[in-house]
């Protein structure tokens, strides 16, 4: 019995690690339990292979054709030889679609620097796994090089909402008092989505970029790029061949939803019209403290050197999964170091789980250091003997990176 318990546990570990499990057993009961474990795991989204997987398949089929049959023993599909062949194939393809990705990234940066401002109509669509499309929002977007922007929601649940930023402060003209300062389902009210500068930065900092196709969208010729960010899911980006600017972005399918963000229209402008940036508080404009701003606040104070008394062991696989979840809009609190610390300290007090209110209040935690990558939170609460919590952005070191507790003091 104990042996079967271990075998079942090992089987689950293999599935969790996306490895082929050892299923060798004479026990019919155990075989049945393997099947049950698989069924439970099927509630999760599948882990998709690397973007070059279809190329590997094709290359292997080609190799199959040329390899003498008797030389083939056990089929080891993803071996060193295949990798080399796939690299060659990709290299050949990339030469064919000249210019190279490096050239495109440079061209994107150069082109963007020349732009004073741009105006576009941005459409965000979601697609379910069954292929059902739904327009989430349409936004009128004006952005300039001085970090000013004007966003007006034209369609969607926040229709009429206007957001204006002068690069430091943000004002909103709400459609409803309750809309402001709540964490919305969709991002248009607290984060400017598909900011070209940010998209170009993301491509520049990506772990991997590959030109996979050429396509015409909205009457424009584009390069299709597959971008794999550091610690995130691969997404697709369409770059206008003429302007070298991103036009469309398609996220990976996650939690059975895929988002497509696209500029249906875009034009280069000299400036944002002044009337759009005018803040008229008598009309209801309010300065807002958007959650995202709070997250990236940089605080440098004299704190002890980074030397926690206790180190918290981190499972990077779980963190990667959490980052992916946060990227797709789940668990936005993971982007807030104070909230992450609050959950951590609360769980130290109540390891069996938190029921009702947190034993440590958000207000009892003070952010004393935040350089954007590392943060220290001071705990001012008598219920716990934890005095400081140390956090780091382990997966991605920008404003989209999640915070992880790596240590604490008592």
């Amino acid at each position: 019995m104990k042996d079967n318990e271990k075998k079942l546990s090992d089987f689950i570990d293999c599935l969790n690690n996306e490895k082929k499990p050892d299923m060798e057993t004479d026990s019919e009961e155990l075989k049945e339990l393997f099947d049950v474990a698989r069924k439970i795991k099927s509630l999760k989204e599948p882990i998709m292979p690397n973007h070059d997987f279809p190329n590997k398949i094709i290359q292997n089929l080609k190799n199959e054709q040329v390899a003498p049959r008797k030389s083939r023993k056990k089929k080891t599909w993803i071996g060193a030889l295949v990798s080399i062949a796939a690299i060659i194939l990709i290299a050949v393809f990339m030469n064919f679609v000249n210019p190279s990705t490096v050239h495109i990234v440079n061209a994107m940066e150069k082109s963007f620097k020349k732009i004073e401002a741009y105006h576009g109509i941005l459409e965000v669509k979601s697609k379910s796994e069954s292929g059902e499309d739904q327009v989430q929002t349409v936004i009128d977007v004006w952005v300039d090089q001085h970090d000013n922007y004007y966003l007006e929601v034209l369609e969607g649940s926040y229709k009429g909402l206007k957001t204006i930023s002068d690069g430091e402060k943000v004002w909103q003209l709400p459609i409803d008092e309750n809309v402001i300062n709540v964490f919305p389902i969709f991002t248009e009210t607290y984060e400017f989505i598909f900011d070209l500068r940010k998209e170009i930065e993301d491509v520049k900092n990506a772990k991997e970029i590959e030109i996979v196709d050429e396509e015409q969208i909205a009457g424009r010729d584009t390069y299709v790029l597959e971008v794999t960010p550091k610690g995130g899911l691969t997404y697709t980006l369409w770059i206008d061949k003429e302007t070298n600017l991103p036009l469309k972005k398609e996220s990976a399918l996650y939690n059975a939803i895929q988002y497509t963000t696209m500029y249906k229209e875009i034009s280069i402008e000299d400036a944002i019209p002044e009337r759009l940036l005018a803040i008229d508080t008598s009309k209801g404009f309010k300065e807002v403290d958007l959650a995202g701003n709070e997250f990236v606040e940089i605080i440098e104070e004299d704190v002890d050197e980074w030397n926690p008394d206790f180190v918290v062991e981190v499972n990077m696989e779980i963190e990667k999964a959490e980052q992916i979840a946060a990227d797709s809009g789940s668990s936005p609190w993971k982007l807030d170091p104070i909230y992450v610390a609050q959950v951590f300290v609360s769980l130290q007090i109540s390891p069996e789980g938190i029921v009702g209110e947190y034993p440590v209040q958000y207000e009892e935690l003070e952010l004393v250091k935040n350089d954007g990558v590392q943060a220290v939170i001071e705990v001012n609460n008598n219920v716990t003997d934890i005095t400081k919590v140390y956090l780091e952005k382990l997966i991605r070191q920008d404003e989209t990176g999640i915070w992880t507790v790596v240590g604490y003091d008592k």
């Binding site: 996306e18 439970i40 795991k41 279809p54």
Partner: protein, 170 residues
């Protein structure tokens, strides 16, 4: 194989690999085996002499059927000595093509099966399989020993097997 033929194989793969991969993954639930079986499915299917007679809109159904047979054969043999599918025997296409509604219904039944577990067992399954925690992490989170977690997960899956059998899932 000349260039023209290879181009068509390329097209077939590029247009069908995603649904095929997802179908196989749904069955085997790990990336390594899925990639392996996807590759093997193409090799066997495209090597089938009558493959060209299959209508393009039925290609994916054919691939899924071949994949399902490879999976069954592997699990039956349960060894690493490869598979031996008689490709001719699997045409015409079997009912391997579960549509999304079938999968959704099955998932609803699985969720409802999970809800019938007691709290401890449900929590262990959630942490171990749905959240992917290791035995030691699960033990820490639940304040139990690792041995206890293994026993709990074994019993939970046994209970689930009984529930699923009643619900026609197994």
């Amino acid at each position: 194989m000349n260039g023209e033929e290879f181009k068509s194989v390329e097209d077939i793969c590029k247009h069908t690999w995603k649904p095929l991969y997802r179908y196989i993954y749904y069955k085997v639930q790990n990336q390594e085996e899925t990639e392996d079986i996807t590759q093997e499915t193409y090799a066997k299917s495209l090597g089938y002499p009558k493959f060209k007679e299959i209508e393009p809109n039925k290609c994916i159904a054919f691939f899924k059927t071949v994949a399902l047979n490879i999976i069954k054969d592997r699990w039956r043999q349960n060894k690493s000595r490869g598979t031996n599918i008689d490709i001719a025997s699997i045409a015409p296409i079997e009912n391997a093509v579960e549509d999304l509604s079938d999968i959704t219904n099955e998932q609803l039944l699985i969720k409802s099966s999970l809800e019938q577990l007691n709290e401890d067992q449900g929590k262990v399954i959630e942490l171990r399989i749905l959240k992917g925690f290791s035995v030691s992490e699960t033990a820490n989170l639940l304040g139990k020993s690792e041995g206890n977690i293994r026993v709990l997960q074994y019993r939970a899956l046994k209970n689930l097997a009984t529930i699923m059998k009643k619900g026609g899932l197994l």
